[in-house]
């Protein structure tokens, strides 16, 4: 963990309420897709945890949904402003898995941490199926970004069927009848739970909690797992399917 001042390269709206913010500076503490940063927002006491969507040696990208005071303030920030960030938090996804046919499932803003993961797994030569799940067509974002990684199997799923496959990610899996070796998922708890019950293969999920610190000192985010109590911010946010107690 490291505290850094990062400079906003751009902060743009993708669709109403969903923003993409690219930050430049020392991002050397980010080592793994699925890690997160804790962002200080002026006049708010607690930092806001956001997943790292993408990163390279000198910049990182965040995707965020405007839901309250903190994310509203973030959305009003502009190019050149500095942001106070605790960087390189959490464990991130395991990327060196011995399986080849892999499913990535993201629900809503939960697709954020899967983007860099998809890039990483593709560069390792894995066969990927990506399911991006939304409520309705007007809420779809980042589908082209995923396709531009060079992935062939990017599926859109909408609850109301206004675009792509109708229903939930579990409906898509049933239709596809593919045998996956491993899966990664991030999204609302009911989605993660249904997915873990539906797929037979091992996998991992990224969880959320309201956080006090984000780096393991306050016990504000501890959950009971099959391995005992674990902190979402430190031992997580990514947990193996079999470790989660639903």
């Amino acid at each position: 963990m490291q505290r850094v001042e990062l400079k906003i390269k751009y902060n743009r709206q993708l669709i109403p309420n969903i923003y993409e913010m690219c930050l430049e500076g020392d991002v050397s503490d980010i080592r793994q897709p699925g890690q997160f940063v804790n962002v200080a927002v002026d006049n708010l006491y607690l930092r806001r945890p956001l997943s790292v969507c993408d990163y390279n040696e000198h910049e990182l990208t965040l995707l965020y949904k405007v839901v309250g005071r903190g994310t509203t303030r973030l959305s009003l920030m502009h190019e050149g402003q500095e942001v106070d960030i605790l960087s390189g938090l959490g464990n991130g996804f395991t990327t060196d898995v011995p399986y080849s046919n892999i499913l990535l499932a993201g629900g809503g803003i939960g697709i954020a941490p899967l983007y860099k993961l998809a890039k990483e797994l593709k560069s390792r030569g894995k066969k990927l199926s990506v399911a991006l799940c939304f409520n309705t067509e007007s809420e779809i974002f980042y589908d082209t970004a995923f396709k531009e990684i060079g992935l062939n199997d990017v599926y859109i799923v909408t609850v109301d069927g206004s675009r792509g496959h109708k229903g939930f990610v579990t409906d898509l899996i049933r239709q596809q009848q593919q045998m996956f070796g491993y899966f990664y998922a991030c999204g609302p708890m009911p989605m993660l739970k249904a997915l873990c019950q539906e797929v037979n293969c091992p996998g991992e999920v990224s969880l959320e909690a309201r956080m006090g610190c984000g780096f393991g000192i306050c016990m504000g985010c501890s959950i009971e797992t099959t391995k005992g109590s674990q902190r979402i911010c430190k031992e997580g946010p990514v947990f193996k399917k079999e470790d989660v107690v639903w």
């Binding site: 006090g212 306050c218 504000g220 501890s222």
Partner: protein
């Protein structure tokens, strides 16, 4: 002239009065990765109970202007694990005196845990938390009655030779009567204050934000309350005080000491700014020079 920051807590000498407050620094290992924790005066480790505690359901964290509301509920591995694992690990990375923070659900519990901790050489002060607002029929019941506070103090004093600091709750009408009761029962010192009972409601969902509904509020928002209580108690008692509540800067440390504190604990601010204790320790001599303070001991309780 070099500013003298050292202080003396019941015979325990600290290089400087800055101490991370219990529950806001874990057992030190996460912070040791962030900076050299040996610059601290001491550390008050996470509250320990007789049995391991998982703590309260999530969400356990909510926010207020300039503060955080927590209902962690004393999650800890239990006193035996603290003695066998956490303390030896902390000792490997921390050379300074350690303060062990103890909670309980009965007088027996307190005595049991303190007796265990008493055998640990590295612990130089026992801080008895009778003020956690986050556990049912828990610590706070002891902290809101002078009679119970005295009983816990006396029971703990019997089983340890280490200095005993009783940590008081601000959720009382008259903190002075509780402080006096502890002093009369043999407390070597007092820590104040713990968190202030609070609540937030999610107006969209029409539900309390915290799963436990209520939690303890702390952070800079409570600083004036903490200063007032430290002052009141310092006027009435003769034992040393560790001042705690909302401290965020070197100036706050000096203010707390002028009100009557011999040492100062920093809590919630560690969550918001992991480097805060380091920054305060670096700033202290600078602020002392500016205010013409040669030694911090000269300003303890100068406000009458």
């Amino acid at each position: 002239m070099v500013a003298k920051t050292s202080v003396n807590l019941s015979g325990v000498y600290l290089d400087n009065p800055v101490i991370p407050a219990s529950g806001t620094f874990g057992f030190g290992k996460e912070m040791a990765e962030v900076y050299d924790i040996n610059i601290l005066g001491s550390i008050s480790i996470k509250g320990t109970t007789r049995q391991a505690r998982y703590g309260n359901p999530l969400p356990r964290i909510a926010e207020g202007s300039c503060g955080v509301l927590n209902s962690v509920g004393l999650q800890n591995p239990g006193v035996d694990a603290v003695v066998s694992t956490e303390l030896p690990e902390l000792r490997k990375i921390f050379r300074k005196p350690i303060i062990a923070n103890i909670s309980g659900f009965s007088i027996d519990d307190y005595a049991y845990s303190c007796e265990k901790i008493d055998k640990e050489k590295q612990v130089e002060i026992i801080e008895v938390n009778i003020s956690c607002p986050n556990v049912h029929n828990g610590g706070m019941a002891f902290g809101t009655s002078p009679d119970m506070a005295a009983k816990v103090t006396a029971a703990v004093k019997k089983v340890t030779t280490k200095p005993v600091y009783v940590k008081l709750s601000p959720n009382v009408t008259d903190i002075v009567s509780i402080a006096r009761a502890c002093e009369d029962a043999g407390a070597d010192g007092l820590t104040l204050i713990n968190t202030i009972l609070g609540m937030r409601i999610d107006i969209q969902r029409r539900k309390p934000v915290l799963a436990q509904k209520m939690g303890g509020y702390s952070g800079p928002a409570i600083f004036p309350i903490a200063v007032r209580m430290v002052y009141q108690v310092a006027q009435a008692c003769h034992i040393p005080i560790m001042g705690c509540g909302g401290v965020a800067t070197a100036e706050d440390v000096i203010e707390m000491m002028m009100a009557g504190a011999t040492a100062v604990q920093v809590g919630a601010e560690n969550l918001h700014n992991p480097y805060v204790c380091k920054e305060i320790i670096e700033q202290l001599p600078v602020v002392m020079n500016r205010l013409h303070i040669d030694s911090l001991e000269d300003i303890i309780g100068i406000i009458k």
